[in-house]
């Protein structure tokens, strides 16, 4: 799955292929690492399997037909919903925090910034397991609550859509804070003053000046959160319950327990297409690719 996600991101690089042709070795590398696997996945998505689950090269569109069934559509919808809610929460949580670290004159600015960066360097799998330990029935939170006699028995925090979203927000929040930080940092303090000078109250200044001028950061943050949300299967695996599968879970299952690689490949292609559409939409709204760090 990680591989598939990489494909989806790198496939945009192929926009620049003509320029890259000049640099032969680079092209070769790109072809080997990006184009070949991508074509491989694409071809496989039209293959079939025999009764022993071996991939056989017999052309079929059945895989895609299966993916259009209501069961699958429901999960796409659910995955989009989880991604959407995660993104919204990240905006709501990330904005004030980014504002704080971008605007503070305090000497703790660097430390606040580091608080965002450091989790980046730690394996997210480990951190998500940390949440499971924390929220589990024998976890710290339940122990603490019972110790304080706030609850009688252990509460079920885990294994629902809420905890999945919590995990997603937790893992992806830095992707919102960093572009927001940049765009808020760039915001000219003089504009806020002139807005106030011209009679705008704080809220009006926010909606008339601050929000439009930092929307670029919100946009790029959103796209950098929304897309991984569709694929981060391990979070719903570890924290989620029955109704929190994302597209990534489906893909993972087909390659592992389901052992239906062509179907998994078709799912990957669907995910790539959704990603492409989202990025196109983002560009259409005026977002720049550089601010995505692509």
């Amino acid at each position: 799955m990680e591989k598939t996600k990489k494909h989806s991101r790198h496939s945009f690089r192929s926009n620049t292929l003509p320029a890259v042709v000049m640099t032969g070795p680079m092209t070769l590398l790109l072809v080997l690492l990006v184009a070949v696997p991508l074509i491989y996945v694409g071809v496989m998505s039209f293959c079939s399997i025999d009764e022993y689950y071996n991939v056989v090269f017999r052309f079929t569109t059945a895989n895609y037909a299966r993916l259009a069934s209501t069961d699958y559509l429901k999960i796409y919808g659910q995955s989009l919903l989880i991604a959407f809610v995660t993104t919204i929460i990240c905006i709501l949580v990330g904005y004030p925090f980014s504002w704080l670290i971008a605007r503070t004159k305090s000497k703790y600015k660097k430390i606040l910034y580091m608080l965002v960066i450091v989790p980046f360097w730690t394996n997210s799998l480990i951190r998500v397991y940390g949440w499971r330990t924390f929220l589990g029935t024998n976890g710290w939170l339940n122990t603490a609550l019972q110790f304080l006699h706030l609850t009688d028995g252990p509460l079920d925090f885990l294994y629902n859509r809420g905890t999945t979203i919590l995990g997603m927000v937790y893992c992806l929040l830095p992707f919102m804070i960093l572009p927001l930080y940049t765009s808020i940092e760039k915001l000219d303090q003089g504009l806020l003053e002139s807005s106030a000078d011209l009679g705008a109250k704080r809220a009006a200044t926010f909606f008339e000046v601050v929000l439009p001028l930092t929307s670029g950061g919100i946009f790029s943050g959103s796209i950098m959160i929304f897309i991984p949300c569709l694929g981060y299967f391990f979070i719903s695996d570890i924290l989620g319950g029955g109704n929190s599968d994302v597209i990534g879970n489906l893909i993972e299952r087909q390659f592992q327990s389901g052992n239906n690689w062509p179907l998994g490949a078709a799912l990957s292609i669907v995910l790539i297409v959704i990603t492409l559409i989202l990025v196109k939409l983002y560009q259409r709204m005026g977002g720049s690719m550089e601010s995505l760090g692509v």
Binding site: G190, L191, S194, L198, K201, E208, L213
Partner: protein, 368 residues
């Protein structure tokens, strides 16, 4: 006339940096007051304190009789034209200018009418749909002025609003602004470091130097009777001589300088006091023979023709250059000839030396 803005004992520190020092200033309603001073002397800081964007470390600022900090920015009848324009980059020129009225919830039709008027006034008609990034520096400045003026404030604060304009447009806008100010009867507090601009536009000028208000007065007073050496040298051209008072009688003073003796008029000076004498180039005269009372000799070095005036540059024996204005067409001595500069006693401005005052104070202290 009554005072609309009042600063009393205002001090401002940025950390250890004492930027505005014990400033007392009272701005009359309807006047055009200029804060004049060299870069970094605290003009912007003073303006920002009046606008309420910066809090004085000590002292009080009253606008319309009320302390600045008592009102939210949007309740004040004060608008600012910022040194850096601060136009909203994501709004069109129309929306930029309409912003203040929109915030006051003025009806749309009235907004349209007033924006149209003000845009005509600053000669920006036709630029409504453009964005600030599509304008030249001068056009941006006019938008900034229009955006503030449209609110019809009682006091308008302008921070070097013409800094980015070329000379011709600058002169034109100076007259335009002055005319607007008279017509709309708005109090202008205007910041500039251009002394010529200050002299032509202002009713009164406050000359600032290192955070201190050196002198407050009409352009004539500032020019004719500078009270400090800084004011004398900063406003217009001048020749500065320094020396000890040799003789004084009935306000007529002779001063011994390094290479001679010069004269001036003034009261409140004492014998032997080390003073500064300032003489404007246009007050300087010279003759081929020594003039009674003066002992000053110079060699003509060069002439510079500036329109109707010829600037004569001569060198004193100690190497100091002096400037003298002559009318074009006058007969002038050849470069290299020796001349004897002099002036009417009344035309010299005599100034105490601040360091001297301190020395005098120390002198007059009783010995312990």
């Amino acid at each position: 006339m009554s005072s609309i803005v009042q600063l009393e004992g205002v001090n401002k520190h940025f950390g250890k940096n004492h930027v505005v020092k014990d400033l007392n200033l009272s701005v009359e309603e309807g006047e055009f007051l200029t804060l004049l001073g060299s870069s970094g002397c605290g003009k912007t800081t003073t303006l920002r304190m009046i606008a309420g964007f910066e809090e004085p470390t000590s002292g009080s600022i009253l606008v319309e009789g009320q302390a600045v900090e008592e009102k939210e920015p949007f309740e004040r009848n004060v608008n600012t034209v910022f040194q850096s324009y601060a136009l909203f980059p994501h709004k069109t020129i129309y929306d930029n200018i309409a912003y203040g009225l929109k915030m006051k919830k003025v009806p749309k039709t009235e907004i349209a009418q007033r924006v149209k008027e003000i845009m005509a006034l600053v000669q920006l008609t036709g630029f409504e749909e453009r964005y600030p990034s599509q304008l030249s520096g001068g056009q941006k400045q006019r938008v900034a002025i229009a955006r503030a003026l449209i609110n019809r404030p009682r006091v308008l604060l302008l921070d070097e609003p013409l800094g980015a304009l070329d000379l011709k447009l600058r002169k034109q806008m100076q007259l335009e602004l002055k005319r607007l100010q008279r017509k709309l009867n708005i109090t202008f507090i205007y910041v500039t470091h251009d002394q010529e601009e200050a002299l032509t536009m202002s009713d009164r000028i406050a000359v600032m130097h290192d955070g201190i208000l050196d002198q407050l007065g009409t352009p004539e007073e500032i020019y004719e009777q500078p009270q400090t050496k800084f004011v004398a040298t900063f406003i217009g051209e001048t020749n500065i001589f320094e020396g000890n008072i040799k003789e004084l009688a009935m306000g007529r003073i002779a001063v011994r300088i390094e290479n001679g003796v010069i004269r001036g008029c003034g009261y409140g000076f004492s014998r032997n006091e080390y003073i500064t004498v300032s003489v404007r180039p246009e007050k300087m005269r010279f003759s081929p023979v020594p003039v009674k009372g003066f002992q000053l000799e110079a060699q003509v070095k060069d002439y510079v023709y500036v329109g109707s005036v010829v600037k004569c540059i001569a060198v004193l024996q100690n190497g100091m250059e002096i400037k003298m204005d002559r009318l074009a067409g006058e007969e002038l001595p050849e470069p290299g000839s020796i001349i004897h500069p002099w002036w009417d006693e009344k035309d010299a401005v005599l100034l105490h030396n601040p360091e001297n005052q301190v020395l005098k104070m120390i002198d007059s202290m009783p010995l312990i």
